[in-house]
Subunit: 268 residues, 2 copies
């Protein structure tokens, strides 16, 4: 139970009722017997700057997680961001130092890669296709490129969004990334859906069946959508006998990373 | 356990670890099975304005309690205050309306009077002495004057502070209030210590023994200090066989009032 001495962490977003972090964090704090709690703040966009200003003087807050739609706004308001957060122009976690200074990081992509590693899927030398070049896709593309993949293809229903991300990645990783036109098919070891298609009943399946059919037997289909846990894309991959990684698994790996940042065990 | 859908209320102050409200509120919310929690915010004075600005966009916050040293600062920043809060220039509770509008009240004095009423002590026609004309003393003096006391005397170690409060009260309650010089003694039905003397081991006993000796057998000694629960003043009153009301009893009555305000059952 929260008391006057409880240390706090927060998650901000709008809407907020869909997030899983408070349950995950609060169960963890309870399990290890820490007098600490995570609160979820449903915060309107035009009050994000007030929140960040206030947090500097909020002595018993140790940090906060940032979710949609505040990740870019917060990145611009804090004192320090990690190189990957700067590159992505977004943060998903901010640590408050005792003097009120705020430093942020972006762990969306690293959380995804951690989850793949945890299940023993080696990335070095592999080829991957990433569908959806938005915020989640950009974070995961960066984390994948950092692993030493042989080849990262990016596809988006808006072709220009995919090529812009490829251009940006090519500056840092010259021989790794290319855009894949919709309709094209090649054999990929890993296919990741980073598009929102699959959240709702009538969404189209975002990965062409020809691409799923071309994957090797030891290939992996991965998803960022957490609800439903088994999206049409993952169901199609399972039907082909492929291994799958759900958005829920990614979220759990993400939680472990965020937890370390909040505990001060991971650098921000 | 706090989740993503938990509605929140807060208490702000600095320091904050000494407050009892989070335990009281959270036990109450748990008892009635409400998915609601109170969090304690240790907030630096120069960030109070940021906090109030942010609260307007904090959609899942229903209100907040204000404690030392932010009661006056918050009163000046919100949209509406009750007449008594305006008179006192301070609020101890703010309700956030769904559109972000903030309205505040000051229940420190009414909580004290409620506690006296709850134990059957009738105030109408009685005489009272109030020691300490600071923020708590002013709030309680106003609430006592509103009950129809015959006579309210006010004493402070700084005589001018007592006479300033008497002058201010006399505008609204012309024949009720007077200052009592230190050293003077008269028989009072009720004596209230609103000074901080009694919080620490070596503090002087703030009420002259001559005043305690002059009280009638059915007289009442009351205290605002919550820790220690039995202050030197209350112990002296008990030694004379008088009834006493502790600061803890006042705080519990106060909690019931705040609870009603937060529930929207009491007007702010």
């Amino acid at each position: 139970m929260i008391g006057a001495s409880t240390r706090l962490v927060a998650i901000i977003g709008s809407p907020i009722t869909q997030v899983k972090s408070p349950e995950n964090f609060n169960r963890y704090f309870e399990d290890i017997g820490l007098d600490r709690a995570m609160i979820a703040l449903d915060l309107k966009a035009r009050h994000v700057a007030d929140f960040v200003a206030m947090v500097r003087g909020w002595e018993n807050l140790d940090g906060f997680v940032v979710t949609i739609p505040h990740k870019s706004a917060v990145a611009a308001l804090i004192d320090e961001v990690s190189p990957r957060a700067l590159w992505l122009g977004a943060v998903n976690v901010v640590r408050r130092h005792p003097d009120g200074r705020l430093s942020g990081d972006m762990t969306d992509g690293t959380g995804f890669v951690e989850a793949l590693r945890a299940r023993g899927f080696a990335l070095k030398g592999k080829s991957a296709l990433l569908i959806g070049a938005g915020a989640a896709g950009s974070a995961i593309a960066l984390a994948l490129a950092e692993t030493g993949l042989a080849d990262l293809s990016i596809q988006d229903v808006e072709a220009e969004r995919a090529s812009t991300l490829v251009d940006k990645l090519t500056v840092a990783f010259p021989h790794c990334c290319s855009a894949l036109m919709v309709g094209e098919a090649r054999p990929f070891d890993l296919v990741v859906n980073c598009s929102p298609a699959g959240m709702f009943e009538l969404d189209p399946q975002p990965v062409a069946q020809r691409i799923i059919d071309a994957m090797p037997p030891e290939g992996m289909a991965a998803e960022v959508i957490t609800s439903p846990e088994l999206t049409p894309f993952l169901r199609a991959a399972l039907a082909r006998g492929l291994a799958v990684q759900t958005g829920v698994e990614m979220a759990m790996a993400q939680f472990q990373l965020l937890r370390k940042v909040m505990d001060g065990a991971a650098h921000v």
